[in-house]
């Protein structure tokens, strides 16, 4: 009898140890999650700990209303704590994007977990009070409680978060919590009433946690994908692409099909480097053509030159150009360039348009999306550049955005080599754009009447480009690639290079 008694007591005290460890873990998870998602970690941690301790107090208060089947209640609570605590981080992660009252839900979870843990210790003391001497009981319960707390607070930052991640940690401890309940169900089956119901509940909860644990990576990927870390202020799906505009402090970012198109903080670097070399090199700039670039930012730069008489912008997506003609935030960026009387916007397929075009241009700026699929790849083909040549005046200059020479050197030099087949003078240059990285361009002249180092005209008050072209066309070894094929419609080798190079990075 005495021996069994000892085992019973020891088992319950071990349960206390686990409850304490798990309880603190849930508290730490909530705190970490709150500071991660909401920021201001001191405030978040302080509030979470306060609410948690307070709700434990409430739990302790309510424990006096439990009289019957104390052991059963204890096991039930054990299961419940495991389930709620374990799933809390998963639910919080998933709800963050879609629920307005996120904070309320966060504190509700903290409260419920704290409340249940608070219930358990007094409940346990009640169970054991007739079997152990009170002095020993109090001392043992609190000893194990505090040991558990210490263990949790050391393990959490050093082992658990680095190894399991926040979501994994809470799920893992949820499972430990529930497995104690399962162990109790089996060992104390004679003392428990209707032990099989508890067993079923416990095992079911354990399995649920296990399944979520297995898929926690996928859930995290999903929810993190939703977190741009920026506020989405506008989304629109046109027939051609999904436009997303985000805002964070003073930075606006435009995403097309989830690819960053520009960041308002540094787009001036990209667009000045795109537009000003070609505008200063070209023999004349009276009649300028822009292909792509529906955001109007390149046009903004072009209009800085007084001798520009006409700008034709051809962009497939009417939804895009309309947005950049009408949205107040966006017209502030492009200085209302698309509504300028010199500018003609044509919404059609650029390739077909160029094939049928009867006009000839003094300068052409090509700002298409990267060649990430076979459709877009056509817009970088030999035949496309041959087509463009037919609508260029003699000595007109042409520039093409040609992805990153650092991340995708093969793609970059493939486009350059393809352009070389068509135009007598071709060069490449690059600029650093913080939100993109090292970015590059191919530039060409349709004749020998001007050179890349000629500056025929300048715009005033540029922030980035200084009209010293020879400072931009130097490439370090890590941005060079040899043995590149020419991109043709029948090989589309560029799409393969691009996929190989950017695919590697994902």
């Amino acid at each position: 009898m005495g021996k069994k008694f000892l085992r019973f007591e020891f088992l319950l005290l071990f349960a206390v140890f686990i409850i304490a460890t798990c309880g603190l873990i849930y508290e730490l998870v909530a705190g970490t999650l709150a500071s991660y998602l909401l920021g201001d970690s001191v405030k978040q941690f302080s509030f979470i700990i306060g609410v948690y301790l307070f709700s434990m107090g409430i739990g302790s208060f309510f424990s006096k209303f439990f009289h019957k089947n104390l052991l059963n209640t204890f096991v039930e609570i054990e299961i419940l704590v495991g389930l709620i605590g374990g799933l809390s981080s998963v639910i919080l992660f998933l709800l963050f994007e879609s629920v307005g009252s996120f904070q309320f839900i966060l504190y509700l979870f903290v409260f419920v977990t704290g409340f249940l843990v608070g219930l358990e210790i007094p409940l346990l003391m009640n169970i054991l009070k007739d079997r152990v001497e009170f002095k020993d009981l109090v001392s043992n319960v609190f000893t194990f409680d505090y040991i558990g707390a210490l263990l949790a607070s050391i393990l959490f930052p050093l082992v658990l978060v680095p190894k399991l991640g926040i979501m994994g940690t809470s799920l893992f401890f949820g499972m430990i919590n529930v497995s104690i309940a399962i162990a109790l169900c089996f060992i104390l089956k004679t003392e428990l009433k209707k032990a099989y119901i508890l067993k079923t509940k416990a095992i079911f909860s354990f399995l649920l946690l296990l399944v979520v644990f297995i898929f926690s990576d996928a859930i995290l990927a999903y929810s993190e994908g939703k977190l741009y870390g920026e506020n989405i202020i506008y989304t629109n799906s046109t027939p051609y692409q999904r436009i997303v505009l985000t805002h964070n402090k003073s930075d606006y970012r435009l995403y097309l099909n989830n690819n960053l198109q520009f960041s308002s903080a540094d787009e001036y670097r990209y667009h000045e480097a795109l537009v000003h070399p070609v505008m200063s090199i070209s023999k004349s700039v009276k009649n300028v053509l822009v292909l792509g670039g529906g955001d109007g930012l390149a046009v903004r730069e072009i209009l800085k030159y007084k001798d520009v008489e006409k700008v034709t912008l051809v962009d497939l997506d009417e939804g895009m150009t309309k947005l950049f003609k009408t949205n107040k935030v966006l017209t502030d960026f492009n200085k209302n360039s698309l509504n300028n009387s010199k500018v003609i916007v044509v919404n059609t397929d650029a390739y077909i348009w160029a094939k049928n075009c009867k006009e000839q241009f003094d300068a052409v700026i090509i700002d298409f999306p990267d060649p990430s699929n076979y459709s877009l790849g056509k817009l970088y083909s030999l035949n496309f550049y041959q087509t463009i040549k037919t609508i260029l005046k003699p000595d007109a200059a042409l520039v093409i955005q040609t992805t990153s020479p650092y991340f995708a050197p093969k793609s970059f030099w493939c486009i350059n080599k393809t352009v070389m087949q068509v135009f007598p003078q071709v060069d490449a240059y690059h600029a650093y754009v913080p939100s993109f990285g090292e970015w590059g361009y191919t530039i060409a002249i349709n004749g020998f009447g001007t050179t890349f180092n000629t500056v025929n005209r300048k715009a005033e008050k540029l922030r980035f480009y200084n009209y010293q072209f020879d400072r931009f066309n130097y490439f370090t070894n890590d941005m060079i690639s040899n043995q590149i094929e020419i991109n043709r419609l029948d090989n589309q080798i560029l799409v393969r290079y691009f996929d190989e190079e950017w695919g590697k990075l994902q």
């Binding site: 397929d349 459709s375 035949n383 419609l489």
Partner: protein, 504 residues
């Protein structure tokens, strides 16, 4: 919406009873070309090149082109027959010349290779195969093969490479295009006596994916699958094209949304104002040193008598047997596989994105030969609707029987037939299909069963009659490809003009 159409077989069948009115008018012309398919049009071009313009082309259908015809809907042109031309062999000067005339070859580079127009070469990606529940690049099964399969593929292609380069004692290629240029090497010609399947087994091949791949290739060019086609023809598919005309990607093909109707249109310019369409020739005979051809005008329902000095019969032999006497005996040996083409307009064509939509999309182990994406050669970024053309050949040991059966089925039957086959790769094809046009060709193409290519029937059928009636059709080559028809037309004209004859 479904539409069912085909070649004018009902009008053609009136040749059995010949219940046509007596000719009510006469036309006199030095040269008459019966049949406006590629061989007839090629003959017209050759006449023109030789400075002869007083010829007439007479055609049963309301358009020229024969198997190189096309349809067109709101969204795209599409083929109603042959749909591509592989890069020509370096030795095929006539064809190279034609491609240069039509600006398909733009110039020759410093190494002497022709520069083909980028817009007329198949855009990448050109082919994909639905194999083991995934689309993969190319039509040769690759991902998911066993090691043994891969070894057999390797061995097979090595053998084909050897055949491609090999020449006989007569210094001629064992397999060449046009076919009559091939070596008379006896051992090689013996391959025409067995089926491709027998050859496959005799060489200890056993790989199922390889078997299916060869079966697909044979059906693609000959209509008949590996079980029924001559081994000589089967190997010719792989070895006839020398792939010596380009430095890289030399197995490329030329294609257009309307298929080879593009080439037919190029050739048609030589027949302007020299064509009688909707005319069924029902009798051709020699009388008083002249050739008399009687034809029924299906529009005015009257008949016409054409009196010519020389006639080129560029009509198929299954038709010629009703127009000329004493031809039924050997014509029996000419077998033609029926074909079905279905052009679908679909709102979208989603699949499992394992490899993007290509020009030629083949479904492994399907009934048909897959489908061609008709808008593949367009430059646009996006298409409102997609238009695809599905191909199916009725390969069989008894082609006559199957031909009778296919004309008994209604359009609903064929619609389900096509959709069920496409469902293997596109489970939702039925929901996204907005329009479907079924096109049946009862005598789709000449099919070289064993013994035909080097057999007597072909020899007899191609002999001119009294140096007045000449024959030019791809069925006289034995394989139904553009190059054969093209050369048939040229050679017939050359024979007429210089009295030379070609032998094979």
């Amino acid at each position: 919406m479904i539409r069912l159409s085909g070649t004018k077989h009902l009008l053609g069948h009136r040749l059995w009873i010949k219940d046509f009115p007596e000719p009510s008018k006469q036309i006199e012309i030095p040269y008459l070309i019966v049949g406006g398919g590629i061989s007839g049009l090629s003959a017209a071009r050759q006449f023109h090149k030789k400075g002869i313009t007083d010829f007439l082309v007479i055609e049963l259908e309301n358009h020229l082109g024969g198997n190189s015809s096309n349809g067109e809907n709101k969204y795209s042109k599409y083929p109603l027959g042959a749909h591509y031309l592989p890069l020509p062999n370096k030795n095929d000067k006539e064809l190279l010349q034609f491609l240069e005339e039509e600006k398909i070859i733009l110039e020759y580079d410093s190494q002497g290779y022709p520069v083909f127009d980028e817009l007329q070469l198949t855009f990448a990606p050109d082919e994909r195969l639905f194999y083991r529940n995934n689309w993969q690049e190319g039509v040769v099964p690759k991902e998911g093969n066993s090691t043994l399969d891969n070894l057999e593929f390797q061995k097979f292609f090595q053998k084909m490479d050897v055949f491609r380069k090999a020449k006989g004692a007569d210094e001629k290629y064992l397999f060449d295009i046009p076919l009559y240029l091939s070596s008379s090497d006896e051992e090689t010609r013996a391959l025409d006596k067995i089926t491709m399947k027998q050859w496959f087994e005799e060489h200890h091949f056993s790989s199922v994916p390889l078997f299916n791949y060869i079966d697909y290739c044979c059906k693609d060019d000959f209509g008949l699958g590996i079980d029924y086609v001559s081994a000589w023809a089967g190997i010719h598919y792989f070895a006839g094209r020398k792939q010596d005309i380009a430095a890289e990607k030399n197995d490329s093909v030329l294609t257009w949304p309307e298929g080879n109707a593009k080439l037919a249109h190029h050739l048609q310019k030589y027949t302007t104002d020299k064509t009688l369409k909707n005319h069924l020739v029902y009798e051709v005979k020699i009388e008083n040193d002249k050739v008399i051809a009687k034809a029924f005008d299906d529009v005015s329902k009257t008949s016409v008598e054409i009196i010519a000095d020389k006639v080129i019969m560029s009509s198929p032999q299954f038709v010629n047997q009703y127009l000329l006497k004493d031809r039924k005996g050997f014509t029996k040996e000419f077998q033609y596989t029926p074909w079905l083409l279905a052009t679908l307009t679909v709102s979208d064509l989603e699949d499992n994105y394992s490899f993007p939509l290509a020009w030629d999309n083949v479904i492994y182990d399907a009934k048909g030969l897959g489908y061609v994406y008709d808008q593949h050669q367009t430059l646009q970024q996006v298409q409102d609707k997609k238009v695809i053309t599905y191909y199916h050949s009725f390969s069989s040991g008894d082609l006559k029987k199957i031909r009778k059966e296919i004309y008994k089925r209604d359009q609903e039957y064929w619609k389900q037939f096509v959709l069920n086959d496409l469902k293997i790769a596109h489970p939702d094809i039925e929901e996204v299909t907005e329009e479907i046009e079924i096109f049946l060709l009862g005598h789709g193409m000449i099919s070289p069963a064993p013994g035909f290519i080097f057999g007597e029937a072909k020899q007899k059928a191609k002999q001119n009659i009294a140096q007045k009636i000449y024959f030019a059709h791809s069925d006289l080559s034995g394989i139904s490809i553009f190059e054969e028809a093209f050369h048939q037309g040229i050679n017939a004209v050359n024979q007429i003009l210089d009295g030379t004859t070609l032998d094979s």
